[in-house]
Point group: C2
Chain length 768, copies 2
């Protein structure tokens, strides 16, 4: 698109590569000063009930304990935690159901009290010494159980614990299914509660600034949003809060929520403004941060013999856990995936988000789509099997057609992307040959090959605000600093921002210094990293701001050279006269002259906001080859390929890395990961990385990433979402491969030996 | 001037008051991480010569020593250190005569080698263990001696060691003095080498950033300038350097120089990019930072009996020490003070800046004017005494008249300020009564009263560039962040900036959050704190940027309210309709709507550069009442009053504090301070705060500050220089009071017992 393209599209080295492999990159804990007070949280040890008494007398005697704050001490400012831009329309604001600490316990691990101490040991001892007396209530862990009359009510405002209910109605489902000769395919599909398991646990620290404002340094994806939430939670003007985000060790959506930033800020105010650090353990991360919504989905499809989808019923039950967080948005997004992926004239869809006494579910990579794709694409293979057609052919015939436009988002399927992606995947994994080879196997060890597709949005417009601001500062050597609010969270955003800015300005990539740290005092407003939005949304503001700065530079070049600005350009850091290609001066010379001129001194900078009012479909698919050891109830992925159309790749190597990470997460979701809760107590059972079976590099084969590059027409650099998509279609592809291998469709994730055992027994493959 | 004035002119509390008294304000050392490597410098122990060999073998054996860099290892990039804005005209660039370390030693304390170690102790041991062999040359400490043929030549390029020579020629001095009946008054006046003695010694640390750039955190007045110098010294693009200035504990001009920032940055690159801290001791601060130029001045005045100054000869010899630093600018400024303070038609003026083997002289509060005023105003009292007229009356008759315009700076004396100031001073100290009372005293203990005047420029235009940039960021609560490059160095700049911005924007003072830390990556370009420029120069850019932001806010208010922007105003943080005074919304409501609007989202910010092409005279005077114990050779200041016209006071309490500090410095300069050097070795003798007699609160009476507020017409807030002026006229006022008390004019500062003893002996008041 841009005639000045030089580094966009190239696999340049990450700007932070060296820093990260050498340990030079500074994370929150690296930045915390040595005199920090340490805060630790006293978590509830019941799943539902009320705190009657918090006895801190023994804890207070421990040397080094500074102060203990209980649920009875904190202000009663209910605040929302979801990392969404604020809405000035109260009807669209997130649910404000959290307090800094609570005497109304709603899950095992809820926050009851907090200790501030001079060191880790005193804080840990004090947490153990705090005695809490509870009045226990019955609890409920299952979403459908929680909806029943008589179930324990978790929040007063929500009868039957229903936080949200979305419907999709198209045509007349009840009438349509009366058509004679229709084939009915039905299934229940269930996905588990899993956790993000980013390398760096949540950590933050807070201190009062010289002017009485509060600075919070936090491992967050969304500093500008958390600033607002801290202000709300403490009941102080938002400008009194400063949020700083250094490098962070992953987020995956868990850190797209205000976690303990508000509590930590409050504790700092209770410790005379002294610096208070709150460093969350892995065990707490599993239980008291956020988890992925477990969703149970009921699908009924009615098809003609030729495969035409006549009518479909969709029921989704999403387990919200104890507080609203991102809440209903996740299953609502999932529900909307079905009619777009496989358009159908008669649809009856219902999605429920239901409070339970589990850990709180929030945002996680894919935001409802991995759950929906597991149900939808497992069901698609069940349909193909029932119809006796190839799963590939069924998809070629019935997936979202070219030219399809979604009425709400206005997203359009401009290209024949699905076929392009599937063709690439088929070739890469040698699908046709293997699919044939694996037909009709017998024996204990069998192989299968399967696949699944997905679509994914880019950013959140028109559901919510999409806005990005950017500032560029020209240095005397012709290099620039680049600031945007969309955060680097490990994905490589800083690098692609530098690539974009370099090309639009016409300067070398090395001349762009992306400011990685977001500081709400100084960084232009941006809502952060989520919804796979950064490259797309920040692209608009970076392009616009670079064009602004470029115009200012060329105006100044005009002033200095007296050549018309129209025949001047910036090429590779040189001011060039386009009529003959003559280099007139370097950008560094211009910047130095502009700044130090006794005639006209000006610091050349540019800053602007771009409000985005578009969105874009990303597409892709996964192919998986699996070996199943039936007696051992073990499935092993032998080959796996993801193919993505995320538009133009700004940096192919970084894009590939994103896909690798997402595929790994998808394999874990598919095969091994589940956070378990004790049915008798509600206590989490495996909230550690020994017992929770996180997928690692030892658990999967080479992760093959391929791309179809259709330049996205709405995007200034032709790019669209890639952060979340790679995790969406892996699990159903594995499930469908096992289906080919064994003839058994396993509809409950993860596909771990326990589940395989039960299902294989039921199917008669093995005996109990 | 501004109809919205609400806090400008009020003594609001400093924005950092609480932080500073509670220790919450973070200085460089507070910010340094615990794993810092420690650097220490091996200083030369000869005054002039050459390093033959640096033997590091013993030092390298000391456990914890990381690396030792000698003068033979460093790159040969000569760089200037003076804290001036860069000039693109090579003829106006500062003298580049420094290397990071040098084998050509030019003063006792020159930098020969540097040690990097894991801790302070290892570094200190290693410095002692490094053995340096020298070839010694003869040395010279006196400026006039250094000018003689045959004196040791310190820099090859400068014959007779003359760094600079400025002349002032007006009329025909030789012809004019032939007029019969003229009265000749002659004197030699000498000021000492003194040091700034800021509370916080110079300190800096450097580390390589994640992208390979170098960050230097330093106690400096001039981060943007030091960034450039570090780039020059290391031979790397300036954009590869980031300078950060936290709170600093005073500077007074010493930190208007690149001190050890370049060396520290270089050491960091030699330690694999690890953080290296260089914390300078008090002893090193005295010797190896910068000192005030000792200047010897020869004045001859020819007057008619009515006091008309017919002709004047001025010769100044300024002792530069070993390197150029700010160099000739200081005595050149001093020389130009004479003809403006007492206009005269026939002038022959010569000012020389001369290299010697003393510590390097640089900028210090007053920048040549305290030296010039000591000579000029001592001489004025000598004239009045010779003519037999009152010193006050002589000044009333002959000081720069109302309407005087300087041909170079275009500064104008708009008001009858000198008389206004003197009248206030006379009243405050009860001058007339005391002057009369102290006439014709006898006895050992005598009192006298004296006075002296001064003028001072504001900022540096047209000698050099004056430019200031400002950025303002509107928060969702209607508060703003304010960034300027002109640094808070203890004087209260952040507070007056907030006052200005609040009034121009129309928001409460508490709603302005001045970002105190300057970071060259993020802070709009400004040259820093020097030349008493901040309030004046930053005032322009703050006003301009606030008007820009205000216009954007009112445009947005127009969009939201559909009222014409012309009838909208911002008053005390409210959007007001001026036609009826109705509050339409708060600025916070507007900011929140502007940012989060789904219709039009915009982050309201403003940034602009203001190049200043004006300057302004500040005026004032000191009155001092002194008691002299003749046998003890001791002078004690009983009362002292400074009266200043620095235009409108933005914050009277802070202005008073500035005057107090300057007066204290002036008393030290007048009575006790001098850095002594051994004539035999060139070694500094009293480079510590025990032997160097810094004036403290115990040494002076109540410091009385009074003001004449003539609104400066060129200044957007009516203000002009006050930072340096208070130190300019104190010493001659004390000298003139001793003259009244004893009849003896002592022309060598400081007026310490040694000097009084010699002079009183000479005058026959006491016997040797």
């Amino acid at each position: 698109m841009d005639s000045r393209d030089r580094v966009v599209g190239k696999s340049v080295k990450r700007v932070d590569a060296f820093a990260k492999v050498t340990g030079r990159a500074m994370y929150t804990d690296d930045l915390c000063t040595r005199d920090a007070y340490i805060a630790k949280i006293v978590h509830a040890t019941i799943a539902n009930g009320k705190v009657l008494l918090v006895d801190t007398s023994e804890a207070e005697k421990i040397p080094g304990v500074v102060k203990i704050i209980t649920c009875f001490d904190v202000p009663k400012n209910y605040f929302p935690t979801a990392g969404h831009p604020w809405s000035t329309d109260p009807a669209h604001q997130d649910v404000a159901d959290r307090l800094l600490l609570t005497d109304r316990v709603r899950f095992y691990g809820d926050d009851v009290a907090a200790v501030i101490a001079e060191d880790e040991i005193a804080a840990a001892q004090a947490v153990r010494a705090v005695k809490v007396e509870y009045e226990e209530y019955p609890f409920v862990l299952d979403a459908q159980e929680a909806m029943k009359d008589g179930a324990p009510q978790i929040h007063e405002k929500y009868p039957n614990n229903i936080l949200g209910h979305t419907t999709v109605r198209r045509g007349d489902y009840a009438e349509a299914i009366k058509e004679p000769g229709l084939i009915e395919v039905e299934g229940w599909y269930e996905t588990p509660t899993v956790q993000h398991c980013h390398i760096e646990n949540f950590i933050c620290y807070a201190k009062e600034e010289t002017d009485g404002r509060i600075t919070v340094v936090a491992s967050t994806q969304i500093p500008h949003i958390v600033r607002r939430i801290v202000g709300q939670a403490l009941g102080i003007p938002w400008g009194k809060v400063r949020l700083v985000k250094p490098y962070i060790g992953g987020g995956f959506g868990n850190k797209q929520d205000a976690l303990y930033e508000p509590l930590c800020a409050y504790l700092c105010t209770q410790a005379g403004g002294r610096l208070v650090k709150l460093d969350v353990s892995r065990e707490e991360t599993f239980v008291s941060n956020r988890v992925r919504h477990g969703i149970r989905t009921h699908l009924i499809s009615y098809l003609r013999k030729d495969g035409t989808l006549v009518a479909r019923k969709i029921e989704c039950f999403s387990n919200q856990g104890a507080y609203a967080s991102h809440g209903h948005g996740i299953v609502a997004k999932g529900l909307n995936a079905y009619p777009q992926l496989y358009p159908c004239e008669n649809i009856e869809g219902d999605a429920y988000t239901v409070f339970t006494n589990k850990s709180v579910a929030g945002a996680m990579r894919g935001y409802g789509i991995p759950q929906a794709m597991f149900a939808c694409e497992s069901h698609t293979d069940d349909i193909a099997r029932t119809l006796g057609v190839s799963p590939i052919q069924f998809r070629r015939d019935h997936l979202m057609p070219v030219g399809y436009v979604d009425g709400f988002s206005k997203n359009c399927n401009y290209f024949d992307t699905f076929n392009q992606c599937m063709d690439k995947g088929i070739a890469a994994i040698d699908y046709d040959r293997k699919r044939k080879e694996y037909e009709n196997q017998t024996g204990d060890i069998r192989r299968g090959i399967g696949m699944a597709c997905f679509w994914y949005n880019t950013a959140v417009w028109p559901i919510s605000l999409e806005t990005s601001s950017c500032r560029m500062v020209l240095n005397q050597d012709g290099s620039i600093q680049l600031q945007v609010g969309e955060t680097e969270i490990g994905q490589g955003a800083d690098t692609v921002y530098a690539q974009m800015a370099a090309d639009t300005l016409g300067i070398p990539f090395e001349s762009v210094h992306t400011i990685s740290t977001q500081d709400t005092d100084l960084t232009p407003f941006g809502t952060g990293a989520y919804a796979s939005r950064q490259t797309y949304t920040a692209g608009f503001s970076i392009h616009q701001t670079a064009e602004l700065l470029r115009a200012r530079i060329l105006d100044h070049a005009h002033e200095l050279t007296r050549m018309p600005a129209e025949i001047l350009d910036i090429v590779d850091g040189e001011i060039v006269r386009t009529t003959d290609g003559q280099d007139l001066m370097t950008l560094g010379e211009l910047a130095t002259e502009a700044l130090y001129s006794l005639d006209h001194s000006e610091h050349l900078t540019a800053e602007s906001t771009y409000q985005i009012k578009s969105n874009a479909y990303s597409f892709g698919c996964t192919f998986a080859e699996v070996e199943v050891d039936i007696p051992a109830c073990r499935a092993q992925v032998l080959n796996v390929v993801n193919v993505h159309d995320c538009g133009k790749l700004i940096n192919p190597a970084l894009a590939e890395a994103q896909v690798h990470g997402g595929m790994s997460m998808g394999i874990g979701f598919g095969l091994s990961e589940i956070l378990l809760f004790d049915e008798k107590t509600g206590k989490p059972l495996n909230n550690n990385l020994l017992d929770y079976k996180l997928s690692t590099t030892m658990d999967h084969p080479h992760l093959e990433a391929q791309f179809v590059e259709n330049f996205e027409p709405t995007s200034v650099y032709g790019t669209k979402s890639l952060g979340e998509p790679p995790t969406c279609s892996v699990a159903p592809a594995i499930r469908n491969a096992i289906l080919q291998a064994t003839g058994v469709g396993i509809d409950t994730l993860p596909l771990r030996p326990h589940t395989l055992f039960d299902t294989f027994c039921e199917a008669g493959l093995i005996k109990k």
